[in-house]
Symmetry: C2
Subunit: 226 residues, 2 copies
């Protein structure tokens, strides 16, 4: 019944068809697209392998939850950062359904990002892979502290503790790195947000002091804490 098209097209069409919520049998789909059942089975394999939520029941047919498929997106580093930030925002507020959805997207995104994406090139040694839950917990705190110019008392999972004047938050492919002036370290430090055990905003604002501000940081060595 269908025109001869590339396989991709058919895969899309199958999902479109199943998105209606209907239960369809391989035989139905086969005749609808003018191919053999065997091809449909192969298609289903492919679709499942690509993460489509297809449920097959022997004796019944195929069902699938409605999905929206986005084509490959090409983003700049900043665009990716905006995406991550936005998802964090939604995950932090809004209603529960959206929280769950946002977190789920974050995970998909995380999984999709090649491990080496950017990240490299610069100093900032590669941190052990950490899942986003931790980042979700502290990132907002860190950002607001930077914005409001308040000191931050942080504890890393490794046990390290430090009070810092947070100056900058960078996104390195997978990991968020906060950098600033470390009071105890008496120098500039940087640390991965997702390795934070706790982060507390200390009361009172700090003022930019010569040698402890953003400009100085760019011309000074930075210690990577862990």
């Amino acid at each position: 019944m269908g025109k001869s098209e590339s396989r991709r097209t058919r895969l899309q069409a199958i999902m479109h068809r199943l998105s209606g919520g209907e239960t369809l049998r391989a035989e139905d789909l086969a005749s609808e697209f003018g191919v053999s059942q065997r091809s449909i089975y192969r298609d289903m394999d492919t679709l499942k392998a690509n993460g489509m939520p297809i449920v097959a029941t022997q004796g019944q047919g195929y069902r699938a939850a409605a999905v929206i498929t986005l084509p490959p997106l090409h983003l700049s580093e900043q665009e990716l950062e905006a995406l991550h930030l936005g998802l964090l925002a939604v995950a932090a507020s809004a209603d529960e359904t959206l929280q769950v959805a946002a977190q789920s997207v974050s995970e998909k995104l995380d999984a999709a990002l090649p491990t080496d994406a950017l990240m490299s090139d610069q100093a900032l040694s590669p941190y052990p892979f950490q899942q986003s839950s931790a980042a979700l917990r502290h990132l907002a705190t860190v950002r607001s502290a930077i914005k409001s110019r308040q000191r931050l008392r942080v504890a890393l999972m490794s046990g390290t503790r430090q009070d810092i004047r947070p100056l900058k938050l960078d996104f390195w492919g997978r990991a968020w790195i906060v950098s600033g002036y470390g009071e105890q370290a008496q120098g500039f430090v940087s640390l991965p947000v997702d390795a934070l055990e706790s982060a507390t905003v200390l009361p009172g604002l700090f003022v930019a002091e010569d040698g402890k501000d953003l400009h100085a940081m760019h011309n000074a060595p930075i210690t990577s804490l862990r």
Copy 2:
């Protein structure tokens, strides 16, 4: 010099290579991947057609900005909604660079979404396609009005004017629909945010009145304004 791989692999590799910021000539790439220059030209066509930011200069070679490519993502409706919401949040706040980035992602996302994606099924007749710029302009206003329980004076592009008690903001595939109690209409109304000419938050809070609240709305007919 390269092993024989599928074309996809080579396209990725080319981008990876160009992401270094280097300027490369078709001849270089051709010999590096062990294919003819003609193939490289075709590859460039494909890459450009897929939205890669490649700049070709005759007599010089190719340059490209660094990009991160996401594979096709399969999202539920709610996940897509979370994504949109998050981007709106970023576009509304944060620093200017991120605003721009967020808006840019929104546009890419919008462009990528099939026109018919979901949307259907429910009442709410199909609105004329509108671009996101308008939605971006008023959505934050609408959301904050809902949250702060303030009346909203809206003017639609069609000329319709109405003061509403905004109660709910829904996302229908492409369009944001705000619904609430329309003062002039003396009943519940819904309208597409991207068809708003203007939206002004009126001073003073409104209190939930029986028959004019969210619960009542779910059990009452809703007029679709345009």
